[in-house]
């Protein structure tokens, strides 16, 4: 099909109007692409008119060329504008579609928490490590010799009975350690002074379970031995500890007491301010100067060296510090309790 040249120019003008209308009507990118193919593709009317150019006279060719250029310029401009418009709209639509309500709670991942006893033990150890202590550990099923004898607790000493020891069957003298002090004896057996260690760990007593008693509990024991260690050093150390754990305004007081492995011995209270201006003292630990018998049994000359030792209950500190009123809660692994701390 070949139109007359003048008809062709008119047709191009017509096509331009049609194309621009089609572009404007295309409401998405594929539709817009269809318009491009329909009006400018290889099989379009426009392609035919372009192909027919070579049969024209120079004047006609010029005239038609101008018409085609005008079409092309108008088409491209409109197409590009429409394309950008549509892309912008599509992006806006996507963004709108992807809107999230971030005020809703997220899908969590599981969270594991360290046991409160571990947290308190670490807090306690931090204080002593900061003062230069090392950390030592030992077995929980312990030789009676380490748990008692080397700590100056002879086999018929009343203290040995008062400790409510749990014994291991089938051994001559193996016990569940009643304190972590045997670790001190183990340290002294292999290390020469100066010594500064803390010994955390599980300990056992034949106590029936109730809100304030547990057959299993934990302690941090401390031992410092050197040539010039004094009872003032003990007091200063425990004051620093109490202030680190309970608050900078705390005071401590030492009361004379008796432990077979220390002499002089002391119970140590920390001050508290309760509700309603209620001041008082809470017992938190036992301590003292290492008994000379303990030193000499471990091969340390009591004439040359002196030392102090203390034992602090981790549960007791945790209960005072966090307001836990029932010691059983530490050992129940209730997920609510674990997650709370």
């Amino acid at each position: 099909m070949t139109d007359a040249p003048e008809d062709a120019v008119a047709r191009i003008v017509e096509l331009k109007a049609e194309a621009l209308a089609a572009i404007a009507a295309a409401d998405d990118t594929p539709a817009l692409n269809d318009v491009r193919v329909r009006f400018t593709g290889k099989r379009s009317v426009l392609a035919d008119l372009q192909k027919g150019m070579r049969d024209l006279t120079p004047d006609e060719r010029k005239e038609r060329g101008q018409a085609l250029n005008s079409f092309r310029a108008a088409f491209d401009a409109a197409y590009q504008a429409r394309e950008e418009q549509l892309a912008g709209a599509a992006l806006a639509a996507r963004l709108e579609a992807e809107r999230l309500d971030l005020t809703l709670p997220p899908r969590h991942r599981p969270r594991g928490r360290p046991n409160l006893l571990t947290q308190v033990e670490h807090e306690m150890l931090e204080v002593f490590i900061g003062m230069g202590y090392r950390v030592a550990e030992g077995p929980e099923a312990e030789a009676g010799l380490f748990n008692f004898d080397l700590l100056n607790i002879e086999s018929d000493h009343p203290a040995r009975q008062e400790m409510d020891t749990i014994y291991v069957a089938g051994f001559d003298d193996v016990v569940l350690r009643t304190h972590t002090s045997p670790v001190q004896a183990r340290v002294m057996a292999v290390q020469d002074p100066p010594i500064a260690v803390v010994c955390p760990g599980r300990t056992y007593r034949a106590d029936a379970v109730d809100a304030t008693h547990s057959p299993v509990f934990s302690q941090v024991e401390g031992l410092v031995i050197g040539e010039d260690i004094t009872m003032g050093d003990l007091r200063g150390t425990l004051l620093a500890f109490s202030r680190a754990l309970f608050g900078a305004d705390r005071q401590i007081r030492l009361r004379p007491s008796h432990f077979p492995f220390t002499e002089p011995s002391a119970e140590v209270d920390v001050s508290f301010d309760g509700p309603g201006g209620n001041h008082g003292w809470l017992e938190i630990l036992g301590a003292g100067m290492v008994d000379p018998n303990v030193l000499s049994m471990s091969g340390i000359e009591p004439e040359r060296y002196a030392g102090f030792a203390f034992g602090i209950g981790i549960e007791r500190v945790a209960m005072l510090r966090y307001g836990v009123t029932d010691i059983r809660e530490f050992f129940e692994a209730d997920a609510r309790f674990l997650a709370h701390f």
């Binding site: 899908r107 991942r109 599981p110 594991g112 928490r113 360290p114 006893l117 571990t118 002593f128 490590i129 900061g130 202590y133 950390v135 550990e137 077995p139 099923a141 030789a143 010799l145 380490f146 080397l150 018929d156 000493h157 009343p158 008062e162 749990i166 014994y167 291991v168 069957a169 089938g170 001559d172 003298d173 193996v174 569940l176 100066p194 500064a196 379970v209 057959p215 299993v216 050197g226 010039d228 004094t230 009872m231 003032g232 007091r235 200063g236 150390t237 007081r253 030492l254 009361r255 004379p256 008796h258 002499e263 100067m289 000379p292 002196a306 050992f331 692994a333 209730d334 997920a335 674990l338």
Partner: protein, 823 residues
């Protein structure tokens, strides 16, 4: 030890208010447990005489009683539920408007009879536990008197905790003496009568377990109730009044700390006494009507024919004082503390006497105690002291002899951080009753008084100085610690293992490490248990052989609380007998000493540190409906693999865990794997067997895992693992290739991966498994495992030829182990 304030004040000059006194005591070694005021709140209770009584017309168990009124005149009617009184008795009448502890009286009708107040019992007045009836007072008590004027109602009673080395605190005198030392004031001993010239009965002392044996005989005794003041003092001290003889022995024991025994002299055969050590095989019925079998070493007192007292612990029933007794032999002896302790422990029999003897009584206190008791008995029972005798042991054993201690006062001052010179220290010690002598410049020779068995060494003297001076004076200083503090590398890695488990979503459980029968056993199972001799409960008869039992019980508790899911980790020791397979595992995997021993070299139970994991249910929840994420074995293995990865010597492939399919009791037969290190089982993971889960009432699936940490921790050198070398980051692009290896189920994945690694050689950067495929075509018991490799070369870009070469090499390696590369 309970100390009525008036009693204490009668023996020491102290007028501090009681609260202040209690503080002073606590701060100086007399630990006050409680200050009670029994009977406080009693007011308007008057003495009255019973004029008449009759049965209540409408109640079987009540009496209508007529008693004297105000000032002993007139009569008042009341209703009473007791029946231990009769006409003429003097009783405590709480009149309307009066009060007794916790109650105010008013006039009220009881079954139709108007009762004007009530007659009070000792218990209602907090004067003891006696509630058999109402309180009866001696008939010559003035009538119409305020009871508070006659009895120590509301008087403070200070209760102290007695330290095991301070037996002298088990008496009012002992506390008074110590208070005098603390307050630097005077104490007064009760007046002791002189002994009669005649002797008592023959006493033959044949054992060194007794250093002194003192006796007094009292004739014409009337065994009757004690006077109120005596009964009430005993009641304040928590001792029940029996009769005047028993009460006096108890009273003097409380007063002076010396236990006494009263024999019915007419029931002693001979009469004579032998004091000796038992050879064993004898029997004695003690006061509590128990037949006691004596063993070699027990101390015993015989009369002419038979044992009559388990010395220092409890007297014999046959010779005890009865209401018919008229002649009493009072005895006070000083026994070897260790021997009394042994007998008392063996028999499980702790008496007020044994409690004192085993803490050491004053070796010089027996004579005055028995004299004091005889004097009281003569005065309160109408008797006459007729004879006294003292037999002393041949030599004085160390525990009874005061040994002089030489102290360097400068050293004492330094130890205590107290600026106390020699004179100041000497003055403090003199207050305690010590004899102090200056033996050289700055040195004191200190001899403790007979009642202080605890002052035997310089350290004891130092404590005494500090105690009397006051611990409060000790300044706060810090020791010069000249080392770098901190955790060991081993301890740091142990903490890192915890962090890994926590990051994996497991929360840390701490359980009581006891188990009963039927506990789940985890790694390297055995029937061996570390059994307890004196367990607290049947289900806590042994130490845990594995961490799993405690974890499963904790999971169960949480399921019981309605938790939709829970994941727990525990770090701790598991306990096995000395020769347990776990010991073999530790021997094989640890290069060095791991076994704990007694100082004598004997091995202790095997107790390695381990990590245990258990999880059940939803990982998160209750959460979003679109999230159904449950705890699986992958989560357990993920934690254990990472723990090994972090704790093992870095870069050493020999420390990788090998997983070997196993079947174990309580675990799913197709979902359980042992974790091997150097070919030895150091761990175990698995899913609970459906029947086990059912038995434990746990919703399935429940997954568990356990790993011995001891081999990993003990492989950490003192200075920590050497730092791991860096890697060069290759800049040429990497190439991924996938291979699929077909193999029998018996061929574990680790072998397949090893073949792949060998085939890929130096080009290999990373390798990971991404699929497992089974089908009928492949055949039963076979699977195809898809593995992706990332290859790279630091020098050049890799080509298809490189990939081809690697694939061919892997095919060869696969063939070598009995697997096939699928093309």
């Amino acid at each position: 030890m309970k100390l009525p304030l008036s009693w204490l004040r009668s023996l020491v000059d102290v007028d501090l208010p009681v609260a202040e006194l209690a503080d002073v005591m606590s701060l100086h070694g007399l630990e006050v447990e409680e200050v009670a005021t029994p009977g406080a709140g009693t007011a308007g209770v008057r003495t009255a005489r019973v004029l008449d009584w009759s049965a209540h017309p409408d109640a079987d168990k009540l009496r209508v009683v007529e008693v004297t009124g105000d000032g002993g005149d007139g009569s008042i009617e009341l209703v009473c539920g007791a029946s231990n009184f009769d006409v003429g008795d003097v009783v405590a009448h709480a009149v309307p408007g009066a009060s007794i502890p916790g109650m105010t009286m008013e006039k009220r009708k009881i079954r139709g009879v108007v009762s004007h107040g009530m007659l009070a019992s000792a218990r209602e007045l907090q004067l003891g536990d006696d509630h058999d009836g109402i309180l009866r007072l001696p008939r010559d008590t003035p009538l119409g008197a305020e009871l508070t004027e006659l009895l120590p109602l509301g008087e403070p009673v200070i209760e102290i905790a007695v330290q095991p080395d301070r037996g002298d605190h088990l008496s009012v005198l002992g506390v008074a003496r110590d208070l005098a030392a603390i307050l630097d004031t005077r104490w007064n001993a009760p007046e002791i009568p002189t002994a009669p010239t005649a002797s008592t009965i023959p006493v033959d002392l044949r054992t060194d377990g007794c250093v002194r044996f003192a006796t007094w005989s009292v004739d014409d005794v009337t065994v009757q109730p004690s006077p109120p003041w005596l009964a009430q003092r005993l009641a304040q001290c928590g001792v029940r009044s029996i009769d005047v003889v028993v009460d006096i022995t108890n009273y003097v024991m409380l007063e002076l700390g010396q236990p006494l025994h009263a024999f019915d002299l007419d029931r002693l055969r001979g009469p004579s006494l032998v004091v000796r050590g038992s050879q064993g095989g004898e029997r004695l019925t003690t006061l509590d009507d128990q037949v006691r079998e004596l063993v070699d070493g027990d101390l015993v007192i015989d009369d002419a024919e038979r044992p009559v007292s388990l010395a220092g612990v409890m007297g014999g029933l046959d010779t005890e004082v009865t209401p018919a007794t008229t002649r009493v032999l009072l005895e006070a002896a000083v026994w070897d503390p260790a021997r009394i302790r042994r007998t008392s422990r063996r028999l499980g029999l702790e008496s007020e006497a044994s409690k004192r003897f085993e803490r050491r009584v004053d070796p010089q206190g027996a004579d005055r105690a028995v004299a004091r008791a005889a004097d009281l008995l003569a005065r309160l029972s109408g008797g006459t002291a007729t004879g006294s005798d003292v037999v002393a042991g041949g030599s004085t054993p160390a525990w009874a002899a005061p040994t002089p201690v030489t102290v360097d006062t400068a050293r004492v001052g330094r130890l205590l951080s107290l600026d106390l010179d020699t004179a100041a220290q000497a003055a403090l010690l003199v207050r305690s009753g010590c004899e102090v002598e200056s033996v050289a410049h700055g040195h004191l020779e200190v001899t403790a008084p007979s009642w202080r068995g605890d002052l035997t060494r310089p350290a004891d003297i130092a404590e005494e100085v500090a105690r009397l001076h006051g611990y409060d004076a000790i300044p706060a200083t810090l020791p010069a610690i000249t080392q770098v503090g901190g955790l060991t590398p081993q301890q740091r890695l142990e903490r890192e293992a915890r962090s890994i488990a926590l990051a994996g979503g497991f929360s840390e459980s701490v359980s009581r490490p006891f188990v009963g029968g039927g506990a789940m056993v985890g790694v390297a199972p055995s029937n061996g248990r570390v059994v307890l001799s004196n367990p607290l409960a049947k289900d806590a008869s042994a130490m845990r052989p594995s961490l799993l039992e405690g974890l499963l019980q904790a999971i169960r508790r949480n399921v019981g609380q309605g938790r939709p899911g829970v994941a727990l980790v525990e770090f701790g020791r598991l306990f096995r007998p000395v020769d347990d397979p776990v010991g073999d595992v530790l021997d094989a995997t640890i290069d060095g000493v791991w076994r704990w021993r007694s100082p004598d070299g004997a091995p202790l139970p095997v107790q390695p540190r381990a990590i245990g994991l258990a999880a059940q249910g939803l990982r998160v929840g209750p959460g979003w409906l679109d999230q159904d994420d449950r705890w699986t074995l992958d989560h357990v293995l993920g934690v254990l693999d990472e723990v090994v990865d972090r704790l093992a010597p870095p870069g050493d492939a020999a420390w990788r865990l090998q997983r070997v399919a196993v079947e174990r009791e309580g675990l799913h037969p197709g979902r359980t794997a042992a974790l091997h290190l150097f070919g030895h089982e150091v761990g175990l993971v698995g899913q609970l067997h459906p029947s086990e889960a059912d038995d434990r009432d746990l919703p399935e699936p429940v997954v568990v895992g356990e790993l011995l940490l001891e081999p990993l921790l003990l492989a950490v050198p003192e200075g920590g693992h050497p730092p791991i070398g860096s890697i060069s980051l290759v800049r040429h692009p990497a190439m991924n290739i996938d291979v699929a290896l077909l193999a029998d189920d018996q061929l574990p994945y680790a072998s397949l991966e090893a073949a792949v690694r060998r085939g890929a050689g130096e080009l290999l950067d990373e390798v990971w498994c991404f699929d497992e495929y089974r089908s009928e075509q492949l055949g039963e018991g076979r699977r195809s495992v898809a593995i992706r490799l990332r290859l790279q070369d630091p020098e050049r870009q890799l080509t298809d030829d490189d990939a081809e070469a690697v694939i061919n090499a892997i095919a060869e390696q696969a063939d070598a182990i009995g697997a096939t590369l699928r093309r």
